[in-house]
Symmetry: C2
Subunit: 148 residues, 2 copies
DNA sequence: TCGATATTGATAATCGTTGTCAATAGAAAA
DNA sequence: TTTTCTATTGACAACGATTATCAATATCGA
């Protein structure tokens, strides 16, 4: 039996390659961490985790890699009450975030139903609404059970 | 004719007083700026504006005053794509933000209608949802007309 | 295998924010 | 009013997070 590499990770590395970037050891380690986590990680957290794979890794390289991944639309910044510099694999299409306040787990959901609300607000205020942010915070099933 | 001081400002100063804080020149200048602006201002912007009223004002005092105003629930932090450290006079009750991408103007609106959506997501995901953030971005009437 | 050059890590520089402290000023009491 | 206590102030230093610099290194096409 062979341990297969998660496809997301390979996709990201291929995309870096296709865009003229080199695929290096440090970048592999960063991609591996961010692509396979379900919770928002800030640059230092990524550094600490990725360093276990690639011990010579420098923090600066983490910043630079995250910058490129964000530019390619592979990750996106998450705003939270405590810190606005954590990243998650980007959603497919336009989705919203559901964050667990217990374990930090993040899930996307699609909330198309906002159109009505947005239409009403637009009509009431005269604004032309171009974008919206919606995020829900709560406790996931596991944390509800555990944190009783 | 007497130029009357806006009531919000007086209310804030009174509340500072009631909570055992002293009402000082520097604080007056900060309160005057934040209480009377319709757009989110970061500490340095507050500093620059308030300094016009009270030239000896120090930046550190702005930070400390904003801290107190936030603790008293008089202002709240606004998260935006470019910067998460700007403040606005707090909403009355639970409201959402509508921000103009042109002039930066900020308005609150109530979006009670989210209950349905939140209920659906809770049912679908098993999460117990405790909080939510909703922000709309767009162009206000004036900016729509001007920025043609 | 080689070579051009993108990338790296170490270091320094910068920015925004918070801590320190003597001087000052608010406000209650005399 | 004047006095007195002490919260508050601004200047300065310290700090953490992020960005710039640069010689050494590693990638990947030739």
């Amino acid at each position: 039996m062979t341990t297969s590499t998660p496809p997301i990770q390979e996709h990201w590395l291929a995309l870096l390659q296709e865009n003229g970037y080199r695929v290096t050891g440090p970048r592999r380690s960063v991609v591996e961490i961010v692509a396979n986590h379900h919770r928002a990680l800030n640059p230092y957290q990524v550094f600490e985790l990725a360093r276990q794979r690639y011990p010579r890794l420098g923090l600066v390289t983490v910043y630079r890699t995250l910058e490129k991944l964000e530019a390619l639309g592979l990750i996106e910044r998450v705003h939270q009450p405590h810190g606005c510099h954590a990243y998650l694999p980007a959603a497919v299409g336009h989705q919203h975030l559901l964050l667990c306040q217990g374990c930090g787990n993040a899930e996307y959901f699609s909330g198309d139903d906002l159109d009505d609300l947005i239409g009403r607000i637009a009509a009431r205020t005269g604004y032309q609404i171009k974008e919206h942010w919606l995020q829900l915070f709560g406790l996931c099933t596991a944390c509800r059970a555990g944190a009783q």
